[in-house]
Amino acid sequence: MTVALRLEPADPTPPYEQLRRQLAEAIESGQVAPGTRLPTVRQLAADLGVAAGTVMRAYAELEGGGLVVTRRGGGTSVSASPDTLSVAERQRRLAELVASLVAQARRLGAADDEIRRTVDRLLG
């Protein structure tokens, strides 16, 4: 099944970032499998009715994050595995995940010590 992309004109987020976020979510959730070839810049820009530069920037950001790879003449495809992520990108995304976890745990009313102990216990 084809994953749908939708740019919201009312969203203050720039179109390239909306596109990057949706593609990143689709890749990380496994909806788009590793090795899948993404649409060409020209095709996706035409389908969305945006400038080619918007799609190029979104692809460049995804490539910087290690989620996709671009080969000359071969187009852009989803990275084969998370191993291809750069150290900096892995740390950035791990920090995002932990920050989200901490925020949710605090909303539950858990103290920081309790959160730390729980994480340590889960890590074994």
Binding site: M1, T2, V3, A4, L5, R6, L7, E8, P9, L23, A26, V32, T36, R37, L38, P39, T40, R42, Q43, L44, A46, D47, L48, G49, V50, G75
Partner: protein, 311 residues
């Protein structure tokens, strides 16, 4: 007067009539089998409905225009030169009409800001079996045209449109047995005078067909809805099939005409087995090409529902 056909009458009149009848019946059966429309909820997808109407209308306008262009171009040039370029000119009109129809409705089935994560390529919409048949015909056309161009000789006007027969006669007279070589020239033969224009025409239509296929593939899609993708893909396949078949019709009719002209000229003085066999072989290729032309014509005229990758 006998009421029963004599064998000779049957070969010259009955057989061609039977073959033409069988071919026309086959074409009618094929037309009926293909006459299925692409069905979908037109109110839910008005853009696709408009696109379908526009592309089909453009195709029929193109077909009507191609008939006129065929007869106009066929009269151009000396010694029937225009006849060898007319199929390419007619095919170019059909493909151009399909292209223009699609271009006019290029963004009608699109909502800005919606797309699917999918990569569309020309190969996704090509009718595989048709492409194979057309490619084989094109290869055959290249081989036959190269041969006729190489063996052609000049006529009285110096144009490469003649074929020279070389016949050896065995003669006996008072001094004994000797051979006499008799050389004669027959026209029209599809030499360079005809094939140069044909080659340019075929190459131009091939380029145009490729542009048409790329444009069909690149036409924007209105999202990732499964039903929309199904209908949109069917419309693209239908258009791609029309383009490939129009090109196939150009190749097949050109090959049929080329082989027919060569067969008649080579067989005009079949003093050796080689000339006789060559003439019959060329006639057989002309017949097969003609039958395929009829099939292609039906596919161009009756677009079908685009559900088959191969027709």
């Amino acid at each position: 007067m006998s009421s029963v056909l004599s064998p000779l009458t049957f070969v010259f009149f009955g057989l061609p009539l039977t073959v033409v009848t069988v071919l026309l019946i086959a074409a009618a059966v094929l037309a009926v089998r293909r006459s299925r429309a692409i069905t979908f909820d037109e109110e839910r997808y008005p853009g696709l409905a408009a696109l379908r109407r526009a592309t089909l209308r453009a195709r029929y306008v193109g077909i009507a225009g191609s008939v006129i262009v065929f007869f106009v171009v066929a009269t151009l040039g000396r010694f029937g030169q225009g006849l060898f370029i007319a199929p390419a000119a007619a095919g170019a009109v059909v493909i151009s009409a399909i292209l223009v129809g699609q271009r006019l409705t290029y963004t009608r089935a699109r909502t800005e800001g919606i797309a699917g994560v999918e990569r569309r390529e020309v190969g996704d919409y090509l009718p595989a079996r048709l492409v194979t048949i057309v490619a084989a015909l094109l290869l055959l056309l290249v081989v036959v045209a190269a041969w006729t161009t190489l063996v052609a000789t000049s006529d009285e006007s110096g144009l490469a449109r003649a074929f020279t027969h070389s016949c050896t006669a065995q003669l006996w007279n008072q001094t004994g047995h000797h051979e006499e070589v008799h050389v004669s020239t027959s026209t029209p033969f599809p030499g360079g005078y005809y094939t140069a224009g044909t080659a340019i025409g075929i190459l131009a239509v091939l380029a145009l067909a490729w542009v048409g296929l790329v444009a069909t593939t690149r036409r924007p899609r209105n999202g990732a809805d499964l039903e929309l993708v199904r209908v949109d893909d069917a419309l693209r396949r239908q258009t791609a099939e029309g383009i490939v078949t129009a090109f196939g019709l150009v190749v097949a009719t050109t090959l049929a005409g080329l082989c027919y002209a060569a067969a008649v000229t080579v067989g005009a003085e079949a003093c050796t087995t080689a000339y006789g066999l060559g003439s019959w072989a060329l006639a057989a290729v002309a017949f097969v090409s003609l039958a395929l032309s009829l099939r292609f014509a039906v596919i161009v005229l009756v677009p079908g529902d685009g559900s088959e990758r191969a027709s």
